[in-house]
Amino acid sequence: MTAPAVALRTYTGRTSLAERAKTAARQGSPALLSLAALLAIFAVAVANQPGILSIPGLTLMLMSAVPLVFATQAQMLIMAVGDIDLGIGYLVGLVTVIAATLLDAQPLLGIGLLVGIVGVYALVGLLVERRGVPSIIVTLGMSFVWLGLGLQLLPTPGGAAPEWLAAIGSWRPTWIPGPLVFVVLATVVGWYLARHSRIGMRMRALGSSAPTLNKAGRSLTATRVIAFALAAVLVILAGLLLAAQTRSGDVNSATNFTLTTIAAVILGGGNFSGGRALPVGATFGAVTLGFITVLLSLVNLSSSLQSAAQGLIVLAVLAGRVITERFTR
């Protein structure tokens, strides 16, 4: 009793590649701030230490950015649905602990724990959607659970990552900086999840306008739960890669990730209200902030000042966002 409304007929307006590129550039323009920052930092670093412009140099520069980029993509997914995760720092730490203890000694238990973490994240997503509890308080509370678990498993830093993980960490191809491969990989994964896949589209729709998603007949709960679960997987990857680099476990090894990932997403053109996900921008943001850490140690800034520098940079980034918004309006 229904009539065919759409017959495949006349569509001739194939979008040309040039137009696609132009549109992508315009839509990605919020990420330009991070690209500019990245180039500036890189230039300063090169001026300071010309040795960076070599494959080993770039490897060193980029190494610290690898786990951060994965964690940033996770934060980006959660911010795309309009939430914020304040537990990422300790969770990455916990994963390094699991990697350095259980994953070697009792692999099954270790893997079980990691899967359990994904389940807990899904549960958090469920509670946020169904019970309306603010995600920042729940994830803040959970961050102490992660910290506690980490301390229980490994009270002092130590342990040893399994061989295969250490091998990943020490992979050094001669033709390309190894970490760059991981950075690109993380970006592609984030891009696929948030921008290319259908679930990513729904996640952005949830953050952009939940009533519209509901009118389209899609489940809000399922979307939020999946977003949280996918984010957990990315956080776990971040933790494993950090353990691969340090070859040991320390629950406090990534505490600064919580703020840094949020700052990286914002620097990369994301927003706090949800709906937007720019994986490339987020990666630029994360690499920039990672470079800054390296740069600060290059210029022999006292380690005491590093966190202040980070805090100030975050505030400067957010101030930059306010200013650029004024300009573009």
Binding site: M1, T2, A3, P4, A5, V6, L8, R9, T10, Y11, T12, G13, T15, E19, R20, T23, R26, Q27, H196, R198, M201, R202, R204, A205, G207, S208, S209, P211, T212, L213, K215, A216, G217, R218, G275, R276
Partner: protein, 502 residues
Amino acid sequence: MSSIAMDRGVNDATSRRGPDVIVASGVTKRYGSTTALNGVDLAVSRGEILGLVGHNGAGKSTLMRMFAGRELPDEGRVSWHGGDGRWDARAAAAAGVRMVYQELALCADLTVAENGALSDPRPSRAGWRGTAERRIGEVLDRVFPGHGISVIQRVGELPMAERQMVEIARVLCTDRLGLLILDEPTESLGVDATRQLYVHLKTLVAEGVSVLLISHRIQEVLQHCDRIAVMKDGAVVDIVGADRATESALLEAMGGEVRADVGTLARAKVLADAAPQTGATAEIIAELRTGDGPALRVGAGEIVGLAGLAGQGQEDVLARLWQGGRGARVPKRRAYVPGDRQTSGILPLWCVAENLTISALGGVSKLGFLDLRAKRALAARWIQALRVRGEASTPITALSGGNQQKVLIARAFASDARLVLLDDPFRGVDVATKSELYALMKAEAAAGRAIVWYSTENREMAHCERVYVFRSGRIVSELSGATNTEERIIADSFDHATGGSR
């Protein structure tokens, strides 16, 4: 009141009609104490365009949502092809009911193609993105040839007219279209696109699709619909064949003015006499420039009404008067009575007295410390004056909507504001309460306050000395005295520019 050759019209219209596709019978819907729909009977038949007109609060949108399965009736039922299953969103989706929302069901952060795919029921395998781009691109090409919209643009980047086109195209992204519901689809469309839309609707109808069209552009409804249903006060008061109807007859059926008839003039005169002296000579205490239209002026001791269809810029005027700033000259002390009691009115955890006095705390405190006795007395005076049901210590949420509204009005008038802004505060308030509050407003104005009152209920505007009618963000007329009638307001609310038959 209006029976525009009704029998003949209906008969003629029915004779050509196909079988009924969807039928609402005896549908009633209540929200709290207000009845949005009151025993509505309406059928849409196969292959027709049914127009639905009516003024604010006539129940059009509620009826639409009911047809779309997004709202379940309290009484009566909606049936699809005579079936008796439950008519909810799932059933409606399966039957191919698609709706263009007035507020647009689009995600600003998603691209045009993604928005199409979001609500597209058809499955698509790998490469869904390409499929989605092709699908909505084809629909756009077919409905709006030469539209100039790139399907990979984000909706948030598009101007309003193009968003409206995307919303229409989004809805047409389906292979099962049974009933198409359009809620003000041409509100922001240009002339060409509007014409293209109606051309396409004609082809859809020829393919057997049924269309339900809500529009306040009476001329369009007259030109393109087969039948027109007129709604008023939650009921369908008239159904006429479009070939038989005229704009004036429809306006009259909705409760609007046709010509300045004698009865209206007489009634208006009574109102004009009853109203206090106009504020023409009073000191102008607030002034606001509105775009290219005339400026809005409010004098001390004056009640000024903002009328017209909902969402034509009245809220914007209130917001600018409230915030002050550029183009607005406002007194320092102002008060605001919000219309949405639940989200921007009551302070839900507090009792009546605290809710009532929060804006007036400056008057009952010394150096920031409250004089509790004075605060209690202030609350008590107002509770008594307005006969608020319940004590000062009753939780605000325990009160009925009308009594909550009394408290909010009292909050504004208990402060020392010179300019009081009312944002359609009497929706869902019972008649007795309303008349008490009208009396209060008049007394307060007589005492020298200036009141700006936005209302979607045109009848209320009779209590104003002057009324500004808004359309598309502009003041289109200023009514006072004898011209300030409900009928004139309704007539001025609708756009005659596209018509010209008057």
